[in-house]
Subunit: 386 residues, 2 copies
């Protein structure tokens, strides 16, 4: 796809795996890479030479710890030149577009957000092109654009269905490519976040890894053998039918006691509003719960128990090495983390390995960063998927 995408030269499989290893796992000496990829030292010399000559890798002086003075010839760490290329990531929400510029290492070096006036595909593409033009001024060497959208995305290029944008079969990648001339990848926002965390975040190097997001909706991503498992119902309402508590609350969305009803921000706000007649933000509700106001405390505790059950179920059946909890709703963990953990424990076998649950406080720029990682992957892998 996207023939304009000047991918990383014609890399041989061996070279590519070396490049990815260095890209993802920071500076590494040749010996260390050989150990990780189970190759001989000789092969490493062979594989790294062209990568260094092409400027993709460089030998860095001595990675941080010269203190650790070992015997023998000092190792010569290799690293990618993180600043050699820039990547653009967008997250489209109902009323905003969040944009970030990242390095090859997926570090955010710039942010740029703009309100979204309408949902016409051409209009959205125009706005993305404008934002790209704004950002490209300070960041030349832009190598690609990644776009994250809530909804079903096909072939990493077409939005098949997006409820909040009212889109069906919009070839967003093509629209933005023709306006910017840059290679564009479009992906479901949760999928993009999962890829980002798998490559550069909590899931680095893990074999079985789960990402769970709570916010306006529920997001679930499963990584097995280092690559994401595609889901048929991808983000067309995850969790609507995950019944966590048959006696749980009934909300406009989702079945009674479903993950949607118990965990999403709109549902929690709805519950409080239905009971009090007043509107509170999610943060206000969490604060009230922390202050032990009875009604919010009960709703939040119920939500926390549901989260515990959900995490326990995932752990029981998938046995991931780590579960990453992200999204705008993770404030729940701060207020009721103990309830969550107790619930997890009571729904797990006492001899089972403890769940490695990591919470990541995240805003919309993290979603955009996730999208940018897709652009990195395309550059590195040549538009194939991991």
């Amino acid at each position: 796809m996207t023939p304009g995408a000047a991918s990383w030269l014609p890399l041989s499989p061996g070279e590519r795996s070396v490049a990815i290893e260095v890209l993802v796992h920071g500076p590494l000496s040749r010996t260390e890479i050989a150990r990780r990829l189970d190759l001989s030292a000789g092969s490493l010399t062979r594989l790294t030479k062209p990568l260094i000559e092409s400027g993709l890798l460089v030998e860095v002086p001595e990675a941080g710890a010269p203190a650790e003075a070992r015997q023998g010839r000092p190792s010569q760490p290799l690293d990618v030149v993180a600043e050699s290329r820039s990547f653009l990531g967008f997250k489209i929400t109902e009323d905003m577009v969040y944009g970030v510029v990242t390095t090859l290492r997926s570090h955010i070096v710039a942010r740029h957000d703009r309100p979204l006036a309408g949902h016409d595909p051409a209009l959205v593409a125009d706005l993305l092109a404008e934002m790209t033009a704004d950002l490209v001024r300070d960041h030349p060497r832009l190598a690609g654009i990644g776009i994250g959208v809530g909804g079903l995305v096909r072939d990493r290029s077409t939005v098949g269905e997006s409820a909040f944008l009212h889109w069906r079969d919009v070839p967003l990648a093509a629209l933005v490519e023709e306006r910017t001339g840059l290679p564009v990848v479009v992906e479901n926002d949760v999928a993009a976040l999962v890829e980002a965390e798998t490559w550069f975040g909590a899931g680095r190097g893990l074999d079985r890894f789960v990402v769970l997001t709570i916010g306006a909706g529920i997001g679930y991503g499963l990584v097995l053998g280092g690559s994401r498992v595609p889901y048929a119902e991808e983000d067309r309402g995850f969790g609507r039918h995950w019944i966590l508590d048959p006696n749980g609350p009934l909300t406009p969305d989702g079945e009674r006691g479903s993950a949607i009803s118990l965990l999403t921000i709109p549902s929690i706000r709805y519950q409080i509003q239905a009971a009090t007649g007043r509107e509170y933000t999610y943060e206000e509700i969490l604060a009230l719960a922390a202050a032990e106001e009875p009604l919010p405390a009960r709703v939040v505790a119920e939500s926390a128990r549901a989260l515990g059950i959900l995490v326990a179920q995932i752990s029981n059946f998938v046995m991931p090495q780590k579960i990453l909890l992200a999204g705008e709703g993770v404030g729940l963990m701060e207020v009721a983390g103990k309830v969550v953990e107790d619930t997890i424990r009571s729904h797990r076998h006492p001899l089972a390995a403890p769940v490695d649950l990591e919470t990541k406080v995240s805003d919309f720029h993290d979603w955009a960063r996730g999208a940018a990682v897709l652009a990195i992957q395309v550059l590195v892998l040549g538009s194939a998927d991991a």
Copy 2:
């Protein structure tokens, strides 16, 4: 391990993958193998030649369907000589040892069961050796023995903990090896069944595959990328804390409404007995439920709903291509299969891919067959795991 295990010659990785492909997927022509393993036709000639010369593979006349007369030179299917070796599989229960002899293709060619008088390790090993001696008379060329035990097994050789045998750290493989002179593999019974189904059964060729067994207990096995995921709590009471219905029955084992309480045979018998004061077998209860006797019907329906919830949860989180339901308790599906399926559907996203749920009526000889497959794997792979 087990140096006596005359494994399949020193097979190169390429040769081994060819051998396994033919072993698992029946007679295959060279072209077909090349297609499946993504190799060139030339490589296939190279790889198959030594396998044929060593007698491991043979060219078979024409596999069954000469009717399908295609144009061109007819293909020359290759096959393993299923009867060239025999394998022995044992399943140890509290009061019986079930034994089977299988071919290389894992077809059962003989059965032999004996009551188990006591649980002393030496006594059990003696019995296994006697049964082996009985069976080896009619089946020479015995290549190895596999033993399945409920409980925790380490290194495929030592029973770390088995509640019903009251064993701790019993080196069962060594005990049987020194009595029989044959290579022995010991494994958890569920794990063995999972391996068998992955190689020769419902899970053949699948990437994500789940085995769920209901019987005296609950068994759960997860296969990802073609190999089984090891669990920390392996068969030390799966399902004890899987709460499927918080309002479910309370039984001596497991938490209220747990998979153990709702699905295992002893718990269902306990529920009926507690309500009626009489003892019924599981089969009797199912028959009464089918005849719409109110109490059994209610208990069985509750059990079926729980199974549906469990299957739906597994599907939601693991997204396996297939779930195999096995064990002595699968009669539930015959009586209440519709309830199970309806429950699954109501706990799944309407757009989610339908669950491929396969029920396998199985007795203890299937467990023994699973153990025999381990012996096959050791022979083929050289005692490594898949």
